[in-house]
């Protein structure tokens, strides 16, 4: 393998695939990135056996084709620290790999490309075309509610559901639940539920650019793959049954409160300063036309704030982990939000007014 490439062209795909590669791994080859030069294309592959990232880039000066694996982190650190705009020459010399640029020269160890593991080949059962922005929204609006290292392993990921005309994402950690959906222009004739593991979701969020370009998604029984112009990303799925989220969405709430989202958000942010650092509890006291928010900490300091809301009904006192409320208010983007409540032991449903794409359920805290 022998090619010349400018720093920026190499750095972008290299950074992309590095996300999949663990720094230290029991299998040494998994710390390496696979470089594959065919005709005028360089593709880079990184994997941790759970997820796999492939990024490709066109190269004008290919002197010799070839396939080799080299330590990913070192390659990335070297390329990143070379001067901007420089040309980099990559050459395989026997069992070594030489990076040179100007008067700098680095020699890395290699491992054979043949030994590089790739995810088993599989067929997509359902294929979808989505815009990048739409997919990113579906993930962003829910990912923050995923569990992390929960013994209920199926919660350490995100439910991705395709149902004829709808794509829906759901995430829950047992305390709160986030759900987002997208109406498809062209219905798919299929119904499928799968759980994307946490790491896969976070990587997808990192990779997806913020534009309306189109990408395709393939859903298999054990894998999901996302194919974009510059990269493809695959992830294994969590083998488990996601709980039935429909059961926990309150349908018969007796109290409807409409609040100005920025006002509620700012009041919660301020109150959170004096909430217990560990439990983050705040108290909502609801009365006609007003909502009082209070927080106390173990030092007996107190925050108290009253905001105007649209509400006619009985008084209610209910406690929440303020971080959960703030996560929701930060994720919604409408001016007004509606809170559907019943009593101090029942969940609240929060939605944006005039935008039914995302819904959030938060369980209260007993204070």
């Amino acid at each position: 393998m022998h090619l010349s490439i400018d720093k920026e062209t190499l750095l972008k795909p290299l950074q992309m695939v590095s996300g999949a590669i663990e720094r230290r791994h029991t299998l040494p080859i998994l710390s390496n990135v696979l470089l594959d030069v065919q005709q005028d294309q360089l593709s880079l592959t990184g994997t941790d056996l759970e997820i796999e990232m492939v990024a490709s880039v066109a190269v004008s000066q290919v002197h010799q084709q070839g396939r080799i694996t080299v330590p990913a982190r070192k390659l990335l650190d070297i390329c990143r620290s070379l001067p901007d705009g420089c040309q980099i020459e990559l050459t395989q010399v026997g069992e070594h790999f030489v990076i040179s640029s100007g008067k700098a020269k680095f020699t890395l160890t290699t491992l054979p490309a043949l030994d590089y593991p790739n995810l088993e080949s599989w067929q997509g059962e359902v294929n979808l075309q989505l815009s990048r922005a739409e997919l990113k929204r579906l993930l962003e609006e829910t990912a923050f509610s995923m569990a992390n290292q929960d013994v209920r392993y199926y919660l350490n990921g995100l439910l991705f559901e395709v149902d004829q005309q709808l794509v829906r994402t759901v995430a829950t950690d047992g305390h709160r639940l986030a759900m987002s959906q997208l109406q498809l222009n062209e219905p798919v004739n299929a119904q499928q539920q799968l759980i994307i593991p946490r790491k896969g979701v976070l990587e997808m969020l990192r990779l997806l650019p913020d534009d309306d370009g189109s990408l395709s998604l393939s859903l298999g029984s054990n894998h999901i793959r996302l194919v974009d112009a510059a990269f493809s990303f695959s992830s294994k799925l969590i083998d488990g049954r996601f709980p039935d989220y429909r059961r926990v969405i309150p349908r018969n709430s007796t109290k409807q409160v409409t609040a100005h989202r920025p006002v509620l958000k700012d009041a919660c942010t301020r109150a959170s300063i004096l909430s217990n650092e560990k439990y983050r509890g705040v108290r909502f006291n609801l009365a006609p036309s007003e909502l009082q928010i209070t927080a106390n900490n173990p030092e007996h300091e107190q925050a108290e704030e009253v905001i105007e809301v649209e509400y006619q009904g009985d008084a209610l006192e209910i406690g929440f982990n303020v971080s959960y409320v703030l996560d929701v208010l930060n994720s919604l983007n409408t001016d007004l939000v509606m809170l559907h409540l019943s009593d101090s032991n029942s969940s609240v449903l929060i939605e944006g007014v005039g935008n039914a794409q995302a819904s959030y359920v938060v369980m209260p805290m007993r204070l």
Binding site: D150, V151, R152, Y153, T172, G174, H175, R176, L177, G240, P243, R247, V248, N276, K278, Y279, G281, N321, N345, S347, V361, M363, P364, M365, R366, L367
Partner: protein
Amino acid sequence: MTQRKIIHIDLDCFFAAVEMRDNPKLGDQPIAVGGSVSSRGVIAACNYPARTFGVRSAMPTAQALKLCPHLLLVPGRMQAYKEASQQVMAILKRYSDIVEPLSLDEAYLDVTGSALCQGSATRIAEAIRHTIKTETGLTASAGVAPNKFLAKIASDERKPDGLFVICPHQVPDFVARLPVQKIPGIGPKTASRLQELGVHYCQDVFKVPLARLIRQFGAYSQTLLERCQGLDQRPVSAERVRKSVGVEQTYAQDKCSLQDCEAELPALLSTLQQRLERHRASSLVHKVAVKLKFHDFQQTTVEQQVQTADLASIRSLLVTAWQRGEGRPVRLIGLQAGLAEQDHKQLMLEL
């Protein structure tokens, strides 16, 4: 996280030991602290000579006297025990700022990073035992381990007046051979459910498929798996959170009908509520339990999740408990209120 060093101190047959200390004439006779036969009392504590006769705490005094006719029965002096306990806790505080009392006669200490005794937790534990003996005349057993639950198990290994250390490198072997019911919190019920899954020792847990474990034990499976690996992240916390408040009454005459038992509930509930108020815990109640002890000393407990402790829920629990007795007369009725974690109880979605 740095390797922690936790000591569990457990005073040996505490009430009985205080009595022996305060009354040297008792010598090595078998003695027990407890209620009299005429008041249908039970043994609260007994010394080791009494234990050789098979006398155990919570045993009816009448039965204890059958096993050991020359057993010397002394009535309890709660004030003296409290004073002795305070004295011991004060000693513990000299060795660490982080002392968590579990009851009058038990406490955890976190001595991580301590400069005392060249930082040796084992020697700190020995020093504590020595100081308790010289200053209070009582003996204590100690367990030293990298976490709370292992320290507690360790203190039981060399009782009485002994010390047992579980070093970090010994933890895997120690835990592998540890019977699951030794884990604090695993009672006979959980132990038998585990046995049905083929789990007798901690190492057996890992042979059970995770999904099966979760189905059986829900969120507790996490704790279970951690303990079985010898892990326990719980910090030693100086402010102890009360987990329950209870009241119970042994009756001079057995209650022979459900109606007779029901008639006692209002009085018991009122005492329970007073105690809840005293601990400012009324709003934290999330569980109530009714305990019945039958005339044959078999006992049963029925519990239920509730928002407040009220007569209606307690009565329905009593009915269930009574039915379990299949007509046996009742000698004791107990009520217990389980408390949610102080002030902050995050409710869960019903997934």
